[in-house]
């Protein structure tokens, strides 16, 4: 870690064939899915948080917020979908930090498995959890008055965009979990980006109500463009511009944090 010789990276990482790397990843994903299935309370908690926010926005704050040319419930529920997958990403950081702490990652590292499998298997399992959580949010959203106003294909495309956004951010959360190495710290550290992304955005109130200096950020940050794209896909309206922006953001975040997370994971061997 502090030695001058760290420039030669990941020595001996003889590349495994993609097929073996996929097998390893599937094994890790299976392990994490089994764990998710056996701790249903975690799943309940990760669904409960966005559900609470949904109720809060719909019934507590929603009455005070006017949306030009639309209903607030249709405005805010797509944002709740995104919250649900982001909170799913937070479980990635907590789970990874737990694995580091318990010593199970040491066992993984001593095995001839692909280096990326521990992280990829984890994010894939958490993705499955996010899809469950998102499905429940759709049902809850419909129950509190949210309605889709578009065809099935764009609605599903919107869901796909939300899931991809959540998956990209689960790599950021994986990095947080690896860097903090402690579940409690990971949880606290993970809340900060969540709040910035969620509230300095067009997710719950229109950007025009914010001070001028905040507007450029609030309008263009990844969550805002994703929520704008999702609204357009689910409620109708011109979507292409925001869809491309969202895809670009999510892809960039995925690529950058995939590389950073892998690097932090391997730095543990320095």
């Amino acid at each position: 870690m502090r030695a001058p010789a760290t420039t030669r990276r990941s020595g001996g990482a003889r590349r495994l064939s993609p097929a073996l790397a996929a097998t390893d990843t599937a094994g890790v994903a299976k392990r994490n899915l089994l764990r998710i299935g056996r701790t249903p309370q975690m799943l309940v908690i990760s669904v409960f948080q966005p559900a609470m926010l949904l109720v809060l926005f719909r019934y507590v704050l929603g009455g005070a917020i006017r949306i030009p040319g639309g209903s607030y419930v249709d405005y805010v529920v797509p944002a709740v979908f995104i919250e649900a997958v982001l909170i799913g990403g937070m479980t990635t950081s907590i789970g990874l930090a737990q694995d580091l702490k318990s010593g199970i990652v040491d066992r993984f590292r001593s095995l001839p498995m692909a280096r990326s499998a521990v992280l990829a298997g984890r994010t894939i399992a958490d993705l499955a959890r996010s899809v469950v959580s998102l499905t429940i949010m759709v049902v809850l959203g419909l129950a509190v008055g949210f309605r889709f106003h578009n065809g099935l294909a764009p609605i599903l495309a919107g869901m796909g965009l939300v899931v991809f956004f959540g998956y990209a951010f689960s790599w950021m959360y994986a990095t947080i979990g690896l860097a903090t190495r402690d579940p409690e710290t990971a949880q606290v550290a993970g809340i900060l980006p969540f709040f910035v992304l969620m509230f300095a955005s067009s997710a719950v109130v229109p950007v025009v109500t914010m001070p001028g200096w905040l507007q450029p950020f609030a309008r263009n940050q990844p969550l805002s463009v994703t929520v704008a794209a999702t609204r357009a896909l689910m409620e109708g309206g011109p979507a292409a511009h925001d869809v491309w922006l969202s895809l670009a953001w999510s892809t960039a975040i995925l690529v950058v944090f995939f590389a950073v997370a892998l690097r932090v994971y391997q730095a543990g061997t320095a």
Partner: protein, 320 residues
Amino acid sequence: MSPMIEVEALEKRFGATRALRGVDLVGEEARVLALLGPNGAGKTTLVRILTTLLRPDAGRARVAGHDVVADAAALRSAIGLAGQYAAVDELLTGRENLELVGLWYHLPRAVYRRRAQELLERFSLAETGDRLVRGYSGGMRRRLDVAASLVAQPEVLFLDEPTTGLDPRTRNDLWAFIEELVAAGTTVLLTTQYMEEAERLAHRIVVMNAGTVAASGTVEELKEQVGGAVLSARVRDRSDLGRAAALMAEIGGGAVHTDADQQQVDLPTKGGTPVLIAAGRRFEEAGIGLDDLGIRRPSLDDVFLHLTGERVAPASPEVA
């Protein structure tokens, strides 16, 4: 007999702490090499480097012919790791734990399923194999942990304090099993704080202290380093301990060691019976009441004390 573990001038630093400062050692094939040392001696750092969990700062190490840095991937296929720093998954069953490890070693599915079954039976976990590890006792977890390290039938097995906290029966079972493995050709590197464990299992012992090798050899070779024998006096009254130690120092030989808990004073000596008789006379003249006075062969514990200046652990594992 070829070396399966070769370590040369290995160094590792954590910030300002030099955890390993030039360690050399050799582990022969189908032999047990025990690393003994107080906490902080560098045993675990060495094991972590040999299992590719840490990279050395300087020096060279090879396991089963693979360099720990350059051939790390190939090395991992040849080793198994169990002990305090490897864990089993609480939310999986024993069988799931073993089968997944087999998958990650890239064994064919049929092979790892069979191996998992064999290992569950061998480690008396057959009946509980399909229950979650969360409900296992400490001993069952440790057995599963060792079983997991054996799924791929590794050439070299690393056991980091494998019996710490185990009850005597489980510990004896595990020792017998390690002996079986070694008889079948496995090379074992074991770290332990228990002299009894090292004495029972190790063909060769390396005593580590402050990041270096303080001594190495067979148990007998190490005992000879201490000297011929140890003169031991146990005082009846604890308040006599200081006087007894001074008296022993006057007799001379080696460095006197006082054990307040045991109310005992030890002196390495080569003098034999005449020294014993002389000591008895002096104690009587000084009016120090004794419960016991005798000459004994040095134990591994004495060797350890002689080399590292401390007694690290009880002579035998405590029941957890």
